[in-house]
Symmetry: C2
């Protein structure tokens, strides 16, 4: 199968429910934006060995890719519409490739011939996308598939819709607002660390790393309620710093109020992971007089918006905590 | 400098002219689509060693990336609006990298210290984008920068606007229409081949490979005139095959009518390069009773739309020509 047969077999079915995709048979997609709505657009890329380990099932890699982008839409209060996918696939995955250099292939069924690598990969990858398209109501609208001499990289551009003027922004937090996060923090960083250390566990933590849960419903519910919002992908303290900068405010958070899962609590470094671990993909937002019970998903108050421009961390006894690494930076 | 300083220094200036970018300080961009208009969206990725040689100046790589996407917008008759960029940069480019493994660094000024690699790269890369933003009236609206363990890959999503119902499509060609192409064909493939063979030349052909010219003005002029349109990126015969399939027609083209540059004519395999060489980024379109002089850019008639579903190639004496490789496929 050549490139066009592969696209037709594995990707066209993902686009058939979205007329704007033109069934992936044209150079571009054609998107209508309903009157009174605005488009929210985000683009995230993930690479083997950086954002995913590389021995996951391709379906799981596809889901992480889509979900990291959906998490951005959730944080903006946007309803998912469609996405564009660029797959940069190692040439060792190609039907003409002779070696199995990619770590992606290591865990493959030994009965699969090398020339089937790409078919196996795309089959699994597309099945992951299909599952999440159904779960999150989004469709493939276009993209590009190319070979690379390097390792697997994937880039995705996701489009969502918001009523005009209602996008949640990083700016807008006001002194006196409460600071909130959804779900639990630190699971993902702890899961990655214990997996890398070869520790056995019940799989909950590493699952949190591999399969983030974009908080779409919560984001929609926060329209008109949150004064600022973003998703936590690079670590709470670093990301809260971005909100402080955009809103021109300071923040105080309390370590004993950080929401931790039972699995995280069993680890010695749970608080540090919650403060600075990456890949949480939970929502971080500010709001005034919030009734948390009115929301469709559990959120915890972790602090307050203050004057100034720094993020202050206090422990249970009111002592100020300094952490060396506030979050993840690629360079 | 960390990731955020780098984005702020090199990418923020590229976004400042486009309010929807929110100055790259939020999780997503916010796009308004004027009433009566539709969005045309395309996404192309390019990788080191596949789409560019790797020893080009980063500015030139940036321009090729942007222009391959702009060429898609041109082919759809869309006016460029904004773009999203994902840079997957080899960790050897990083300020913490110790080796200069990337071929990108090979031709660098030896006085540049390894820790400056990424600064040098981004400076040049951003300057290429800035130049083309001015030339084509487009702005950066968002994106992602990440490290990869592999080689350099770049992905770009470009947005353009068309009046409702006026996008040029691949479907729509009718029996009896003329088949036209813009500019000259085959230069790019010949340039790449002669560069790879170490042949010296005046630089025109390799320049055509490195710096495609998106035919934006021509695309806009073809609204309401072309019955079908696409850009030639994978080779004329293969791409014309896509038009035939989408329009459910056949095509006959004549080798003696293929527009060749003087530089191409001096090469022995010019006709084959024009028929099946990649990276032309010229427009291929069909139209009825076209007055070519009314168009803002030179186009040549190369054949006619016929019944059937195959692309027939005839030489000057009317003999049918078969070519083995109709164009480029990644897999």
């Amino acid at each position: 199968m050549n490139e066009f047969d592969l696209i037709s077999k594995y990707f066209k079915p993902l686009a058939s429910g979205f007329p704007g995709s033109l069934n992936l048979t044209d150079d571009a997609a054609l998107i209508d934006v309903p009157e009174g709505m605005q488009l929210v657009i985000t683009k995230d890329a993930i690479c083997e060995g950086i954002h995913f380990i590389g021995d996951e099932a391709p379906a799981l890699i596809a889901q992480k890719l889509l979900r990291t982008n959906l998490s951005d839409l959730a944080a903006k209060g946007a309803k998912p519409l469609c996405y564009f996918l660029a797959g940069m696939l190692p040439s060792t995955l190609s039907s003409s490739g002779l070696t199995r250099g990619s770590i992606l292939s290591k865990k493959m069924d030994p009965r699969v011939k090398p020339e089937d690598d790409i078919v196996y990969f795309l089959q699994s990858f597309a099945s992951g996308l299909a599952q999440d398209q159904k779960e999150f109501g989004i469709h493939l609208a276009g993209g590009d598939t190319t070979s690379t001499n390097g390792s697997l990289c994937l880039s995705l551009t996701a489009l969502g819709l918001v009523p005009k003027g209602q996008m949640l922004k990083r700016s807008g937090a006001k002194i006196g607002d409460g600071i909130y996060v959804s779900g639990t923090l630190g699971d993902s960083a702890l899961g990655l660390a214990s997996s890398q250390a070869g520790q056995s566990n019940d799989g909950f933590l590493i699952r949190r790393y591999q399969l983030p849960e974009p908080r779409i419903e919560l984001g929609l519910a926060l329209r008109g309620i949150a004064t600022s919002c973003m998703d936590i992908s690079d670590g709470l303290v670093q990301d809260l710093g971005h909100v402080c900068k955009a809103s021109n405010i300071g923040a105080t958070i309390y370590t004993h109020q950080l929401p931790l899962s039972d699995a995280a609590k069993s680890q010695s470094n749970a608080i540090l992971a919650a403060l600075s671990g990456g890949d949480d993909y939970e929502l971080l937002f500010t709001a005034k007089n919030l009734d948390v019970k009115s929301l469709p998903f559990p959120v915890a108050k972790i602090g307050e918006v203050k004057s100034g421009n720094e993020v202050k961390i206090l422990d249970e006894s009111g002592e100020k905590i300094e952490i060396e690494k506030k979050g993840f930076s690629h360079f």
